[in-house]
Symmetry: C2
Amino acid sequence: MTTETPKPLPKPYLVRTAVDALLADLTEGHPVPAERELAARFGVARETVRQALHELLVEGRIERRGRGTVVSKPKLTQPLSLKSYTEGAQTMGRKPGRLLVTWQDIEATPDLAAALDIREGELAMHLERVLLADGQRIGLESSYLPRHRFGHFTDTFDPATSLYAAIRASGVTFGSAVERIETVLAAPREAALLESTTAMPMLRLNRRSVDTEEQPIEVVRALYRGDRVAFEALLTDR
Amino acid sequence: MTTETPKPLPKPYLVRTAVDALLADLTEGHPVPAERELAARFGVARETVRQALHELLVEGRIERRGRGTVVSKPKLTQPLSLKSYTEGAQTMGRKPGRLLVTWQDIEATPDLAAALDIREGELAMHLERVLLADGQRIGLESSYLPRHRFGHFTDTFDPATSLYAAIRASGVTFGSAVERIETVLAAPREAALLESTTAMPMLRLNRRSVDTEEQPIEVVRALYRGDRVAFEALLTDR
């Protein structure tokens, strides 16, 4: 290895760095200068500025508001843990909320039956909710629970509240969960429910939780707005 | 709660489900029927089929090959753990590889200096590599290490091999790491290095690792192709 003389950096990189520096000094809700103004200021093509602003939009640093573009609130960081969405949001100082979309019993498909350790065609409870943080739509979560275990929720559970709190209150202790994280595009229905578009990258989270006796509690299929949510994990050598 | 009569499902959903079912029966490398053919088969507009195929492309179920579209290899699942990329790839039965892009000493910026617990302007080693699985480009990883700790790698480390193995062989034991996962679009340079485009969603992973004495080992800033990689975590209540 030799300590090389750095090569000249490509223009898109320089423009992105310059816009980042400019945004670092602005607070949430502050207007972002127009594309034309930035192109003139940096002496580059509007297309170069447009690409940088598009990246920042996808990353959630800026957002459209009315006719203009403003600096966004920082992303909600969701810890990867057995804690609920509620606890994650509260840690960030955000007010959690939920809007009920679907609540119905469904007959388990072969995959779902295997994951919940029930018979194919046996009933599972499907709860689909939009997750809110300070009133902003940040995710769409579908939870599937074995009806024989949590059927009483029909009479007792308030879908505007934490499902994990209700599960714990029913005497069940979470043992472990396997979570899978991917990036996907939203389907039209999902994009509409999240007030986003089918062009914006989303984070897809699939989770299967079991109790301390390894008995299935739930299967979760959630979609988070990529511009509003990040996941964080603490890894240790155990 | 009442068990509602399910509402009729929207067409895009039905088409996506039908295409999913069709792909489930095809093996890797098998050609995917053309858009026009699928539109005729399902009796829907080509635009509806196009949206479903675009979703599947982003999710890595299908990929362009030459003039056609074929079924992809399953995604590489990277465990969120203190194990190296090498170990993750091998667990999946994929052959890991690395292409060196950049290897140079840089003067630490204030952020990097704080993360590596060195003085601002002190030297850090920057190693940037394309990660390969069975020869396919799946990620672009930048590692930053404190030069005073790992400067001897200049003479000993082979950048085509595992950095974690070299760190461990030098007597350092990983203690813990904090990882942050987001979705972003690649900048033009990154897209080119990953043989992808600036329109394809990527997974951004930022990691800071410390040893068992809480002394910083590395800061990593990696970008994974969203169509080729998923992350998986095992969560337990500890």
